[in-house]
Structures are given as structure tokens and as C-alpha cells.
């Protein structure tokens, strides 16, 4: 008979080992699933783990997806550390994309010429405003009316999705677009790092923000206040740290980051708004944040890992004829395994004799 016994102090080693163990468990599950589906498991794992790294084009796509994921996850990590359960990054991502896309559309329709370098900061700003605005609704309703941020932020994902549909089926539809629900192709976009690949300088912006958020969390008093509020609300209240300001700052920052990710995605690889600007990055980023231990640098590593899964899913469809939805299953298994392994941070397994 085995039982869990609380550790005297959380195990630091387990906290780092847990994501690795979880990844190994996910790979084992993937192996078994490939066998069960009648696919060659070695080929399957190769598609998910190795091919996303194969060649400069693959690397560019991997970095692009990681950029969107890490931006969303950075804000979520900040929220979860502050005990604010924002699960609507997807909606904030969309509103950021809509803001930046609208701006690019307006410039294009009014023939405002502009270099990509001049456009990038404008797109980033529009995206941040759009995302922060959307997050501010959740923060306001939580702050003022005590409404659950979990449910409100999630409901707003659906609202944002329908709002995007409204725009591209209605007022923003390309008049010359044969009635397809999409905007015009933008004249400007994100400045690319190399002309031949879609990778753009937004990735560098994201990495700078990773460092900034790390500095904020680890080196500023404000960041410390947020985290105390998350770990021990009573202690934070006693110390006079405002829970309200923790809510507002984490929500607004998280909305701004997710909005920027949406802006980069719409202005960069997409180049126009369509009803499918939503790709689930906001939800995958939740997994990224947890796998990355709610730490900015950890989020970078985790975002690359989850991007591999996303690309692997797309490749699985074309290379071995398995549905790309496999990715969703693997993501879920990864998060389950991680949560289960995380138990061993605070508990250890002991053998009970008798009983």
C-alpha cells in the first residue's frame, strides 16, 4: 500500500524534473497511439520530434509559432503567479489581431505608403491596446462586481470570435474579394529577418519581453507584491499589498502581450484578416505557461516544445495520413502528466505497512 506524505519543503529538483518526466510520458503515450492506429511509431515520433527542426524553412515556422505562444504564455504566467485565472488569452489575441489588422487595412485602403519597419511599432501598439482593452473588461467585472474572471474571460473568447466574423463577413469584407469573408491583403507587414522565410523581427521583440518580464518578476518590488498576492493572499493583505492593483496589472499586461501576439500573427504570416485568425494559440499558451513553470525563460523552452507538437500535427496529416487533431490529444496528455508529476514537488511516496 503506497501513500503520499507531505514533504517538509517543496522539492526544487522535482520542480525541474517534472516537465521532463511529463514529456517522456507523453512520448510513450504517443508511441502507443501510433501503434494502435496502425502507423509506424518511429516514423510518427520522427514527424513530431525531428522534422519540425529539419531545414531553415522548418526552423522559421517553429520560431514563428513559438513567438505567438511565448507572448501569450508570458502574460498568463504573470496572471497565474498572481492567482488571477485569466483563461481568455485567445480572445485577447484575437482583439489584438483585429486592432492591428484594422489599422493595416485602413492604411492599405487609403493608400498610405509605409515601410514595414515603420508599421511594426504601430501594429504592436494597436495589438497591445486591443488585447489590453479586452482584458480590462474581465478585470473591471472582477474588480467591481466580483464576477469570476475564469468564466468572464472565457465567454469573451466566444464574443471576440463572433465579432471577428461580423467584421470580415460585413463591414471589413474586401469589396474586390469575390464575396469571400476576408479583408484586403495588407500592403505592409512585419519586417522579415530573411527575405525567403516568414520569420520576422517580432520574435526578437518577444525575447526582449521575456527578459523584461523576468526582471519585473525577480527584481522589482511590484513584481514581488504580485507574487506574494498569489502565494499567500492573507499575508499580502497584511503587508498592505493591494489585491485590486495585482488583478489590474496582471490582466492588463497579459492582455497586452496576447494582443501583441495577435497583431504579429495577423500582420505577419497571415497578411489579412479571415474568420480563422484564431488558431488556438491562447489555449495552447495555458499549457506552455504550466510546462514552463510559470517562469519567463521556462515559457520560451515550453513554447518551442508545444510549437513542435503543432507543426508535428500538421505534418502528421500530410506525411502519415493521421488527423492533425492528434496534437490536441498530445497536448492534453502532456498537461495531465505534468500535473500528476507536480504532485511530487510537495509530496513524496511512502510505503505503508499493513493497512
Amino acid at each position: 500500500m503506497w501513500r503520499l506524505e507531505a514533504r517538509p519543503a517543496p522539492s526544487r529538483a522535482m520542480s525541474y524534473a517534472s516537465p521532463v518526466v511529463a514529456l517522456v510520458m507523453t512520448v510513450v503515450v504517443a508511441f502507443v497511439m501510433f501503434v494502435a492506429l496502425g502507423a509506424d511509431p518511429v516514423r510518427g515520433l520522427q514527424v513530431f520530434l525531428i522534422e519540425p527542426w529539419n531545414g531553415p524553412r522548418a526552423l522559421s515556422e517553429l520560431a514563428l509559432k513559438s513567438t505567438s505562444l511565448v507572448l501569450c504564455a508570458l502574460g498568463l504566467a504573470l496572471c497565474y503567479r498572481s492567482n488571477v485565472w485569466n483563461i481568455g488569452a485567445e480572445g485577447q489575441f484575437l482583439m489584438g489581431g483585429i486592432a492591428a489588422g484594422g489599422l493595416a487595412m485602413w492604411f492599405t485602403m487609403n493608400k498610405v505608403g509605409m515601410s514595414n519597419w515603420a508599421f511594426m511599432p504601430l501594429a504592436a501598439l494597436a495589438g497591445m491596446l486591443g488585447g489590453a482593452f479586452w482584458a480590462s473588461i474581465t478585470a473591471l467585472l472582477r474588480d467591481r462586481f466580483n464576477a469570476s474572471e475564469i468564466l468572464v474571460s472565457l465567454m469573451l473568447v466566444y464574443v471576440a470570435n463572433h465579432f471577428l466574423s461580423y467584421l470580415v463577413f460585413g463591414p471589413w469584407k474586401d469589396p474586390m474579394g469575390f464575396n469571400f469573408p476576408q479583408t484586403v491583403n495588407f500592403d505592409m507587414g512585419m519586417p522579415r529577418m530573411l527575405a525567403a522565410y516568414r520569420l520576422h523581427w517580432g520574435t526578437v521583440v518577444a525575447l526582449v519581453l521575456v527578459v523584461a518580464v523576468w526582471l519585473f518578476m525577480a527584481r522589482t518590488y511590484r513584481g514581488y507584491q504580485l507574487q506574494v498576492g498569489g502565494l499567500a493572499p492573507a499575508a499580502a493583505r497584511y503587508a498592505g499589498f493591494s489585491a485590486r492593483s495585482a488583478l489590474w496589472s496582471s490582466m492588463l499586461l497579459s492582455g497586452a502581450f496576447a494582443g501583441m501576439a495577435g497583431a504579429f500573427e495577423v500582420a505577419g504570416p497571415m497578411g489579412q484578416l479571415t474568420p480563422h485568425a484564431s488558431t488556438g494559440y491562447g489555449f495552447t499558451a495555458i499549457i506552455v505557461a504550466f510546462v514552463g513553470r510559470l517562469h519567463p525563460v521556462g515559457c520560451v523552452v515550453a513554447s518551442v516544445l508545444l510549437s513542435m507538437f503543432l507543426i508535428g500535427g500538421e505534418l502528421a496529416q500530410s506525411r502519415i495520413g493521421l488527423p492533425s487533431a492528434l496534437t490536441g490529444i498530445f497536448q492534453g496528455v502532456l498537461l495531465f502528466s505534468l500535473l500528476a508529476c507536480d504532485t511530487l514537488i510537495n509530496y513524496r511516496i511512502r510505503r505503508k505497512v499493513g493497512a
Binding site: 466580483n146 464576477a147 487533431a325
Partner: protein
């Protein structure tokens, strides 16, 4: 007049999956467990239920399969949350994300398939009544069973000894444990029962309400059901009425379009989600009221012998 009767009928049908899932979540929350995985369990059950309905043509087998799928998802959740003390929010989210992926994966084979299952049954005699007949008595039997379920659950938690013990587990697991009750087993049983109800709700959507399989077809109903438990202040019959209210909002958008009100369809589709937000705001603004009604240990882990 006849149109109004049909609107009521459609409202009852649209409210049924919300009520079933909401009742399931209410059972969870009564013993102190919040399961954010409702959406995922409903999606898994919807695709499994559709598949069984498609191959057997029997809606009851489809509901049973949906219930099993929901209960299995909930069992995984319960194992992590109750025995491994993982965070309830994060684990529920994991179920929702996993359910989305699983259902999309399994559902690939069923996209565009049609079900050969009867959707409504006329109650003999009563369905001939003017107005009331078409409004209430030409439904799938599951609609009436849902009403029965709400009443039974209200009676169970309010009037039986077992229900009282379960409520004490939700209010103070430590005291219940101290009295010698098997807190974790009881929580697990309620989590699985709740998952089974969410599963029936999912199967109802794909087998009776739609009736077809579309990826992501639950469309946030699992989350709306979570909001409903707050709205109902954890009372089953009030939850049932809330579910019909939301069903009505869903139907209202179609009705308004039918009447030629000129609002674009995507804006109309926002209505149920905006209504959920509005209701949450209205209900939650009195924290004292919520605190008085909410099971006290909701969301908190319980580790015996700590």
C-alpha cells in the same frame, strides 16, 4: 400563437443540455469540487454518443455511451484532483483541452454523417392539447427526464441522510473525515456522477439537438453550465429554470432573425455569452449572498492525515 408554442418547445430543448451539465457540475460542487473540464467531457461524450448512435441507431445506447465517456473523463480528473491533490482549475482546464483534441480526432470519421434517430415523441393525448401540446408535449423523453433529475437531486441533497453527509463533505471535509466518513471516495463518486450527467448532456447535443457531429459543437455550453451553478446559488430547481432562460436566449436570436429584425447573425450569436457575463455580474455583486450559499470547501484540496 402557434409560433410562440414552437418557441417554447425549442427553448425547452435548448435548455436541456445546459440543465443536465449544470446539474452534474452542481453535484460536484456540493462536495467541494470545481470541474472546469465540463466542456471537454461534453465534447468527448458528444462524439462518442454520436458514434454509438450512428452505428446502433439507438439513442438510449448513445446516451449511455455518452454517460460512460463523461464519467471516465471525470474519473481521470478525480484521480488527479482528489488523490494527487493537483490544482482543480488547472486539471479541469487540462480535461477541457484534452476533450477538445480527443473529440476532434475521433470525430474526423463522423463529420457530415447523418443520424437515423427519432428526435421528438408526442405524448399520447396530451400532445393534442391546443398550444400546450406543441409547446410542451412533443419533445424527446430526455427533456422530461431532465426535469425529473432536477427534482430528484434537490430531494436527495435536501431530504436524505446521504445527501446531508455529502453536503457536510462539501462544507468541511476535515470534519466529515473526523466523523469517519470516506471523504475522498465520496468526492470521487460525486465527481463521476457529475461527469456522467455532463456526458448525457453532450450526447443529447449530438444525437437529439443537432443532430450531427461538428468539431467544437458544444460551443461553450460547458462553461455556461458552470456559470449556471453560480446563478442558481447551488439549487437544482433554480438551475433548471436558469437553463431554460439561457435556452430561451439561444432561441431568441433565431426568432428575431425569423421576424426580420436586422441585426447581423454574428452579433446575434454573441447573445448567450453576453447573457452569461451579465448574469454573473448580477449574481456575484453581492459577495455575502454567494458566500452564504456556496459550499465552503469549493476548489480547496483535501489531504487526510496531513
Amino acid at each position: 400563437m402557434n409560433e410562440f408554442a414552437l418557441l417554447i418547445a425549442a427553448t425547452l430543448s435548448a435548455g436541456t443540455p445546459l440543465a443536465l451539465a449544470g446539474l452534474g457540475l452542481l453535484i460536484n460542487e456540493k462536495v467541494g469540487v470545481v470541474n472546469l473540464g465540463a466542456e471537454g467531457m461534453m465534447l468527448m461524450a458528444a462524439v462518442v454518443g454520436f458514434a454509438v448512435g450512428f452505428h446502433t441507431g439507438n439513442p438510449w445506447l448513445a446516451f449511455a455511451a455518452g454517460a460512460v465517456a463523461g464519467a471516465l473523463g471525470a474519473a481521470l480528473f478525480g484521480l488527479l484532483v482528489i488523490w494527487l491533490n493537483t490544482n482543480q482549475y488547472a486539471t479541469g482546464l487540462a480535461i477541457s483541452l484534452f476533450g477538445g483534441g480527443f473529440s476532434a480526432f475521433v470525430g474526423v470519421a463522423y463529420v457530415g454523417k447523418k443520424l437515423d434517430i427519432q428526435q421528438t415523441y408526442a405524448v399520447p393525448g396530451l400532445s393534442e392539447l391546443p398550444f400546450v401540446g406543441p409547446a410542451v408535449f412533443q419533445q424527446h423523453p430526455m427533456v422530461y427526464l431532465t426535469v425529473l433529475a432536477a427534482v430528484v437531486i434537490a430531494w436527495f441533497f435536501g431530504r436524505t441522510r446521504t445527501g446531508l453527509v455529502l453536503r457536510s463533505v462539501g462544507e468541511s471535509p476535515e470534519s466529515a473525515h473526523g466523523l469517519g466518513y470516506r471523504v475522498r471516495l465520496m468526492r470521487m463518486a460525486c465527481v463521476m456522477a457529475g461527469g456522467a450527467l455532463c456526458g448525457v448532456a453532450g450526447a443529447y447535443l449530438s444525437v437529439v439537438y443537432a443532430p450531427l457531429w461538428v468539431e467544437g459543437m458544444v460551443a461553450g455550453r460547458g462553461w455556461i453550465a458552470l456559470a449556471l451553478t453560480v446563478f442558481a446559488t447551488w439549487r437544482p430547481v433554480r438551475l433548471l429554470l436558469g437553463a431554460y432562460l439561457f435556452g430561451g436566449v439561444t432561441m431568441l436570436q433565431l426568432q428575431l432573425q425569423g421576424m426580420g429584425v436586422d441585426v447581423p447573425a454574428p452579433i446575434m450569436s454573441m447573445l448567450p455569452y453576453l447573457a452569461t457575463v451579465a448574469v454573473l455580474v448580477l449574481i456575484s455583486q453581492n459577495p455575502g449572498w454567494i458566500r452564504r450559499n456556496m459550499p465552503a470547501s469549493m476548489g480547496k484540496p483535501f489531504h487526510p492525515g496531513a
